[in-house]
């Protein structure tokens, strides 16, 4: 049974002639995680916001099972922590706002932060944390409502490489540990290949290509050094090239790798 079903989805912002994308369709099964891959400005974030219900489609339908709302959570491009709340209070915010705050939720928030390596930082304010730590708090905040689906918008793009790799592995661990499904926006091909069961390639002209199932064994950072992994990355780089060449002069192609 599909958990996300997108049909003939089009989006154009009001007062704008530019169509972000049109007639986009894809389905995502309940155990699959998807990476949205494409150059800046191709509509990845818009698609993610549509899935979350932060934007309304111009036409087409989005069906999410279970229903949109609390079963789904969203991680923004930046940590977006509330500056006057401590780490722990930031994590508890979604529960307070949805009136699910209880004594057990506090214990769960603490456990979650411990799991993300922030045990000693519960009472710290966001400005006292590094960018990577802030992102982990943001991730904990997204997970505290025990969602089935997490939507992540280039969450690790601003992090240094080591933190980014660490976060990628944390996300993979959570996926199996908490039985999560995620939709992950990125413009890095290798990140998409590493994190996605499926990849939706998008280009600047509003077209998208749905690419299926990459099966690797265990995913860990060592995998990225293997020829098999790099071959897949190469394939995607090529696909990208083809999509762009079919529409653009070669000199305006964006380097995506």
């Amino acid at each position: 049974m599909p958990s996300i079903e997108v049909q003939q989805l089009s989006k154009r912002f009001e007062n704008s002639a530019h169509t972000i994308f049109s007639e986009l369709s894809f389905t995502l099964a309940g155990d699959e995680s998807l990476c949205l891959l494409g150059p800046s400005g191709c509509g990845k974030t818009t698609l993610l916001r549509l899935l979350m219900g932060l934007e309304q489609p111009s036409s087409g339908t989005i069906h999410v099972e279970p229903q949109q709302g609390i079963q789904m959570s969203y991680v923004f491009q930046e940590p977006r922590l509330v500056p006057w709340r401590t780490c722990l209070e930031n994590v508890l915010l979604p529960l307070e706002l949805t009136s699910q705050d209880s004594s057990s939720s506090r214990t769960r928030a603490v456990e979650l932060l411990q799991q993300l390596g922030l045990a000693g930082r519960l009472k710290h304010f966001p400005h006292e944390l590094s960018g990577g730590m802030q992102m982990r708090v943001a991730l904990a905040r997204a997970l505290i409502t025990q969602p089935r689906i997490v939507l992540l918008d280039e969450p690790f793009a601003a992090l240094d490489e080591r933190s980014r790799f660490r976060m990628q592995d944390i996300l993979l661990e959570l996926k199996t540990g908490m039985n999560l499904q995620y939709v992950f926006v990125t413009h890095s091909i290798s990140e998409a290949v590493y994190l996605g069961d499926r990849i939706l390639l998008m280009d600047n002209t509003g077209r998208a290509k749905d690419c299926r199932a990459i099966t690797f064994g265990a995913r860990n950072q060592a995998l990225k050094l293997t020829p098999a992994f790099n071959a897949v990355v190469q394939t995607y780089a090529q696909l990208f090239g083809e999509m762009e060449h079919s529409m653009f002069e070669s000199d305006v192609c964006e380097a995506s790798v």
Binding site: M52, L54, F76, V82, T86, E96, L97, T98, F125, P126
Partner: protein
Amino acid sequence: MNSGVMGWIEDKLPAWLFVALLLSIWQWAVTQQWVASYLLPSPLQIFHTTVELWPEILAATLSTAQSISWGLGMSILIGVTLALLFFAIPVARRAILPFCIFFQTVPIISIAPLLVIWFGFGQPTVRASAFIVSLFPILANTLTGLQETDPQLKELFRLYKPSAWQLIFKLQIPSAIPYMLTGIKISAGLAVIGAIVGEFIAGGGLGSLIDAARTQQRVDLVFSGVIMSSGLALLLVFIIDAVSRVLLRGRPYLRKL
């Protein structure tokens, strides 16, 4: 920033040394009779007068402090309440805010006689005077703060479909606090002026102590009154800074706003 004793020495000592230098020059100039002591009494003379008349000066200072606290307290209470009201009901803002601005432009000294007619001599007029001059900065700053809530945080909150109350108390008021504190700081200085001006006309407190000393050519006593009133203003700033430190502990970078 340096911490501890060394930090204090580096930070504050130059100012204290400079004050000591100025006072020495002043004292010296008066003892050398370069300046007539009935025009400019020496620092030591002012000190002696203050000690000699301490009970009167203290009583006057306490009375003024009371009026300032009352006026500023009411300004905070009514200013913040009005700001919330104007924020929640734009029509009320359009109706009443121009009136408040008009109120603000009327020089306090010109309506002080009117206040005496309405409230009589003594503290009620002084309190009203302190209140009127200190209301507007708090109102205007708080309103700005409420209106300038970070749209990104607003979007974050929107994910969890908060009630209007939750938005006000968990997002908009905390966002406005730095602005509110800035307004209170400006108002504190104004409240001191308002109280002294009120006392010039309605009597009581340091204002009338200074006025009476003037008519008796007691310049030394005038100075005592001036020093006590600036002492009150300094004390207020100190208290507000202490409160800011607590309220803005998650946002130390906004303390100097």
